[in-house]
């Protein structure tokens, strides 16, 4: 009465779905419009790539020979890059006005921060000791840079510069901005009107002015309100400015995530007896932050690049140190472009690393948050 169920054995996929030719067809020539685009782009690359390589590699000067640099720069027939400017100036670009003989200190300090950043990205290191480790790292950073102990000569913060300053402003700024942002976002959604008003006031005020003016205020106006002799260090003031600025933007990102959480989640937490802070810490924030990982990383990348603005208040981080290195030097000043490419590569490396990390975190969360399809 019942029909028999016959299982059809699995067969290999057809050949046209596999191999290099299939890949080329589906990715480069799926239809005539894409085919034309592929050919045009290939032609452009074929035309410009040799010229670019000539300029950047074959005709370029790599030694710090100023005369040779000027020669290739003015050779209209075979123009070449002058990478010699970097050979000549890289120490000033990387370390600013830090005393030349002690450059190993900012180098070590920068390596320390980079090492900590890389370590913090690994889930294996997401332990309780990470926060104390960071505090220790910052302490070591300050000791190395500032000196005055253990036989290290004292170097005032005004002379700190280049890469370590960029790294310090970005990491400490982001690390301090994050908790402030979370509190401001919670405050903006708080049922208490006074708290809400204060948080809205802070966020809207800071978002309403450019970072440059925040830095100017932190640097020049803030000391006017304090009794003389009580002015905190300019680096601290600028750091506070960057932190408050970054936190205001980040707060809105976090608020977006919090508002996307269904009320049922909060009601379930309440019905289980969780208090306000427990609910936020255990239920709301973990879900909210997951939703906004790309936007958070966007904010971090902005903050990293925004540190280049502290030059306006005479702190010579990477961009500022570049100006410092070339502005007064008539021999090397013509080669700003190559020098800018050099620091652009440094910024790009940092930003690309952050962006890739954000993608990796997103994929990881997607895996741990699998939906019904992956049961068993």
């Amino acid at each position: 009465m019942s029909a028999t169920f016959i299982v059809i054995p699995a067969r290999a996929a057809p050949v046209r779905m596999l191999g290099a030719r299939a890949w080329i067809r589906t990715h480069l020539f799926p239809d005539w419009k894409n085919g034309v685009a592929t050919v045009l782009i290939a032609a452009l690359v074929a035309w410009y790539l040799p010229q670019l390589l000539d300029w950047a590699l074959f005709n370029a000067v790599f030694s710090n020979d100023n005369a040779a640099c000027r020669a290739v720069a003015h050779d209209a027939a075979r123009p070449g890059a002058c990478w010699g400017v970097i050979t000549e100036k890289y120490r000033v670009i990387l370390f600013g006005r830090f005393p030349h003989a002690d450059h190993w200190r900012p180098l070590l300090a920068s390596l320390l921060l980079v090492l900590m950043l890389v370590a913090s990205c690994r889930p294996r290191c997401w332990r309780r000791w990470l926060a104390p480790a960071w505090i220790a790292a910052f302490a070591a950073f300050f000791l190395l840079m500032r000196g005055g102990v253990a036989g290290l000569t004292y170097v005032e913060t005004a002379r700190w510069g280049g890469l370590p300053l960029t790294l310090l402003l970005a990491t400490l700024g982001i690390a301090a901005a994050f908790p402030i942002a979370v509190l401001a976002a919670l405050g903006r959604l708080s049922p208490l009107p006074a708290v809400r008003a204060a948080c809205i006031g802070y966020i809207e005020l800071v978002r309403g002015v450019p970072l440059i003016s925040v830095l100017f205020m932190a640097s020049f106006m803030f000391p006017l309100f304090l009794p003389p002799g009580m002015t905190p260090d300019v680096l601290l003031r600028v750091l506070a400015g960057i932190t408050l600025f970054a936190a205001a933007y980040l707060a809105e990102v976090v608020r977006g995530g919090l508002q996307a959480i269904p009320v049922g989640q909060i009601e379930a937490a309440k019905s289980l007896g969780l208090g306000y802070w427990q609910t936020q810490r255990r239920i709301a924030l973990p879900q909210a932050l997951r939703h906004v990982v790309p936007a958070i990383m966007n904010s971090f990348i902005s903050t990293f690049k925004d540190t280049s603005l502290v030059t306006v208040v005479s702190l010579y981080e990477l961009t500022g140190a570049l100006g410092l290195a070339l502005r007064g030097d008539t021999d090397w000043r013509p080669f700003y472009f190559e020098a800018y490419l050099f620091i652009a590569v440094i910024y790009w490396t940092g930003c690309y690393a952050m962006s890739s990390y954000s993608h990796w975190v997103e994929r990881r969360l997607a895996v741990s948050n699998q939906t019904a399809g992956n049961a068993q």
């Binding site: 269904p262 309440k270 255990r282």
Partner: protein, 250 residues
């Protein structure tokens, strides 16, 4: 703090509630005895959810008195905390925490609210999962489970705080028909264990078999309440008869 078994565990006394200008609960008088199983029914928008959500202060009432296990509910955080520890709740939409595994969903409140050591909380959680017959899913995430399984986990989660009162707001309404039975079976077993239950449901078969009393609501009021036999056989009110005729023979 009366803990004598003859005093009601929940006592509504002329409770009124408004949403803005909308009068959602009107002069509610209801007293629930310890261990009593009450089913609340009524048309959509009649205030059933509002009524049971007042019991653990997910909604606050504006007038009248509401006493739960000897504690009068008010905006005093201490009272709310005490009451929420005695009352467990199950929602129509399950409301499991999707970022936590099933086991973590169950141990969260006992460790953070009940201050139980983690291994004890885990033992207790596994015992509750056994009880709802889903222990083998302990390490999955909620979204990997079927609706019926999720709702059973939600029931186990509420039970982990050893509540005296269980509130259930249409626990089977969001389920596919073939999963309703597995959840009802768990609820029937629960009803047999002497816990006080306040359950909003349209499962009249379930109501008939386990309820001590059925409360019928309309337009924010309790229209009538009676033991199931009497309630289904001789509804006293015109409104009740109309509702029953709609729901029993669709």
């Amino acid at each position: 703090m009366s803990d004598t078994s003859d005093s009601p565990i929940i006592q509504f006394d002329k409770v009124n509630k408004w949403y803005g200008q909308f009068h959602a609960l009107r002069d509610i008088d209801l007293s629930v005895a310890r261990g009593e199983r009450i089913v609340v029914c009524g048309p959509s928008g009649s205030g059933k959810s509002t009524l049971i959500r007042c019991v653990n202060w997910l909604e606050e009432h504006q007038e009248g008195r509401l006493i739960v296990d000897g504690v009068e509910l008010s905006d005093d955080p201490k009272a709310i905390e005490t009451v929420r520890r005695t009352v467990g709740m199950v929602f129509q939409q399950f409301n499991l925490f999707p970022h936590l595994s099933v086991l973590e969903n169950l141990t969260l409140a006992p460790t953070w609210v009940g201050r139980l050591p983690l291994n004890e909380a885990r033992e207790r959680a596994m015992a509750q999962l056994e009880r709802v017959r889903i222990a083998d899913q302990a390490n999955k995430y909620p979204l990997q489970l079927s609706g019926g399984q999720q709702q059973r986990v939600a029931i186990a989660r509420a039970l982990c705080l050893t509540p005296k009162i269980m509130l259930l707001d249409e626990p089977t309404s969001a389920l596919d028909p073939e999963m309703i039975k597995e959840v009802l079976d768990v609820m029937i077993e629960l009803a047999g264990q002497g816990i006080t239950m306040l359950c909003v449901t349209h499962e009249m078969g379930f109501a008939r078999s386990i309820a001590d009393r059925i409360v019928f609501m309309d337009q924010g009021q309790i229209v009538e309440q009676n033991a199931p036999g009497e309630f289904f056989a001789n509804p006293a009110n015109e409104r009740t008869r109309e509702f029953l005729s709609k729901i029993l023979n669709h």
